[in-house]
Amino acid sequence: MSLLEPGGIDCDIHPAVPNLKALHPYLSDHWRDVVVQRGVHELESIAYPANSPLTSRPDWRLPNGRPGSDLDALRAQALTPFGTSLAICNCLYGVQLLFSEDMGAGFARALNDWIAAEWLDKEPRLRASIVVPMQNAELAVDEINRLAPDKRFVQILMLVMHDHPLGKRHYWPIYAAAEKHGLPVGIHAGSAYRHPVTPLGWPTYYTEDYAAQAAAFQAALSSLVCEGVFTKFPDLKVVLLESGFTWLPAHLWRLTKFWRGLRMEVPWVDRAPTDIVRENVRLTITPCDGPPSPEMFQRLMEHFGSDEMLLFSTDYPHWQFDGDAVLPEGLSRDLVRKIMIDNPRSTYARLTETVP
């Protein structure tokens, strides 16, 4: 592990909704009636089975309740031990998985109000992402516009797998709103399970489902670049969350090679994908999928060709590392500082607006 820099900014933590009942005060009368009358189940996604080892570090499990559902525990487990100055809450409660567009919007609204009242109001080190109903771009934009004045919301949160590839024009109103408000779009691992997570159908094991997230991020990046999202919205920042990152150079080599051969198909992509991604895309550092030696990591960083792309994250409470070994071995002090402080600050403009 590399030593941490005090005052780091954790760009991916996961406060958990303890149960659906906790959202009741924030739901409209209509949706609260629906929950009660129709017996709506908890909205925990199959992306993180409750007792799977990955879902929570053993020492971060709570005696009662879901990991990540208690503010005091989160302070003691996620903030203090790492000397964290600010942490961005990405709530993964499955409101984006509902099939009803209106229900998705109603629940996203409740979730965001719950985050603001139960977490942001109580702990000044916390910031949050706006969970948007990806089911409908118009409703998503309404939610962004509603919350954008609150500068503690620093990002828009989407899932890497939903109805359509993320570069499609279906989602462009969200990107337009993001650019307008200076909010990066955070794309998190996970799926609405509208399609199998692999192109070869539904895999047998959870292990495969989690492995498939990296391929999904590769496809999402291809889509965002090829559809011209960064041509249309040049100031848009996209942050890949819990994506892994070691796959990025090889993917860009391939995408850029095919762009050279096929750019007549996507003439609006007016620069090499490698250059576009280097400028507009950032990735969180946890999970760090290898490589096995510091020398190889050094080589990989050279393949990145930039020390501005990686952002510090613990992925709390998911079990990605033990103790305080968040960062891979062999990072220079300068690089650690960039990853933990400078890169998050330049990615999330609102962090510096709200912190003196």
Partner: protein
């Protein structure tokens, strides 16, 4: 491949240009279904004429993503005597084998080959005919070796086809594609791998195909470029399924060749699988070793379309991490994204590495020595 005038490759010495080459991916093409009729049962000829192939995709005549070039082919690969690129043995001998000093060429008859038609019985008939066609019309050239086309969605029929050709040294691998209808590590496919291992044949899995599901977990993308880039993700899913389901553990002598999906994606995938397996191994007690160990031991990859980073030397790191004994050079003739053996590694290399990469690895894998 791309030839960039801004970064000219170093001039190859005459000794280098005479290197013997093995080509792990050559595509023989039929001009039409009629070419197959002499090798098909009458009922399947009627089916082909009346209903056509009915692949798991939208169009009768071509893919829903228009290719980058007509027939996805090099502009100069149309045979002078007429017909589609890749349809003329004589022209292929001249343009590909002789010009590049290719001593071993692996034929992969992909495309409309029966291996995943919606009508499986019909597909079985077409796959069978493809193998007879390759035998009769292509394997007369001793530098060329065949891959056995199998209808892999019907494992019993695939096994029968493997057993039919297993003793014929002109066929050196069993051919599948990455876009299977179900995750390929699942039990329904194991018989195929067992039959291949019993026959001492590797499974060659070529990118592409129509399994029925979108190429991304988030639906169908808009463009051919995304479909093409997506084959690397399909290949990652293919390999993940085989590893995690324990195919490498369960079937000794199982060897896998990943064809036309590039290769630089492999090291990060292996690292990721090791990491996840370490955390979640109680889900997969059938795995006795780390995923990367199975991969290091039993997986080969053909090189095309070879990744082209800037600077190009970065690709050597990826090869180091995979192992110089595991890559099989391939051209993908006659397709438009053909890789030229004189230009894919435009940097100085130890002679032994160069020879392994371009020739020896394939000769060993396909037991030609």
């Amino acid at each position: 491949m791309n030839v960039q005038v801004t970064a000219r490759p170093t001039v190859q010495s005459p000794a280098t240009s005479k290197l013997a080459i093995a080509d792990g991916d050559i595509h023989p093409q039929r001009n039409s279904y009629k070419d197959l009729f002499p090798y098909m049962e009458a009922r399947w000829v009627e089916m082909a004429k009346t209903f056509g192939s009915r692949p798991r995709q939208a169009y009768q005549a071509g893919p829903a993503y228009p290719k980058g070039q007509p027939n996805a082919s090099r502009r100069d690969a149309w045979p002078p005597e007429g017909g589609r690129p890749g349809s003329s043995l004589a022209f292929l001998q001249k343009q590909l084998l002789d010009e590049n000093n290719i001593q071993l060429g692996i034929l992969n008859p992909t495309g409309d080959n029966g291996s995943s038609f919606q009508n499986r019985e019909f597909g079985n008939g077409v796959a069978s005919a493809m193998n007879r066609w390759v035998e009769a019309e292509w394997l007369t050239e001793p530098r060329l070796k065949g891959s056995i086309v199998v209808p892999y969605e019907d494992a019993d029929a695939a096994v029968a086809e493997i057993e039919k050709w297993a003793g014929d040294p002109r066929f050196v691998q069993v051919l599948m594609v990455t876009r299977t209808a179900n995750p390929p590590g699942q039990k329904q496919y194991w018989k195929i791998y067992e039959a291949a291992a019993a026959a001492n044949l590797p499974i060659g899995v070529h990118a592409f195909g129509f399994g029925g599901y979108p190429v991304t977990g988030s639906g169908w993308p808009s463009f051919y470029i995304e479909d093409m880039v997506g084959h690397a993700q399909s290949s990652q899913s293919f390999l993940t399924s085989l590893v995690i389901e324990g195919v490498f553990e369960r079937i000794p002598n199982f060897r896998l060749v990943m064809i036309e999906s590039g290769f630089a994606w492999l090291p990060p995938l292996a690292w990721r699988l090791d990491k996840i397996w370490n955390r979640l191994k109680q889900e997969t007690p059938h795995l006795k070793r780390a995923p990367s160990e199975y991969i290091r031991e039993s997986v080969w990859l053909t090189t095309q379309p070879m990744e082209e980073p800037q600077p190009r030397e970065h690709v050597l790191d990826a090869i180091d991490w995979i192992g110089w004994d595991k890559l099989i050079f391939a051209t993908d003739y006659p397709h438009w994204d053909y890789d030229d053996p004189t230009q894919v590694l435009p940097m100085p290399l130890p002679e032994q590495q160069r020879r392994d990469f371009f020739f020896n690895n394939a000769m060993k894998l396909y037991r030609q020595v």
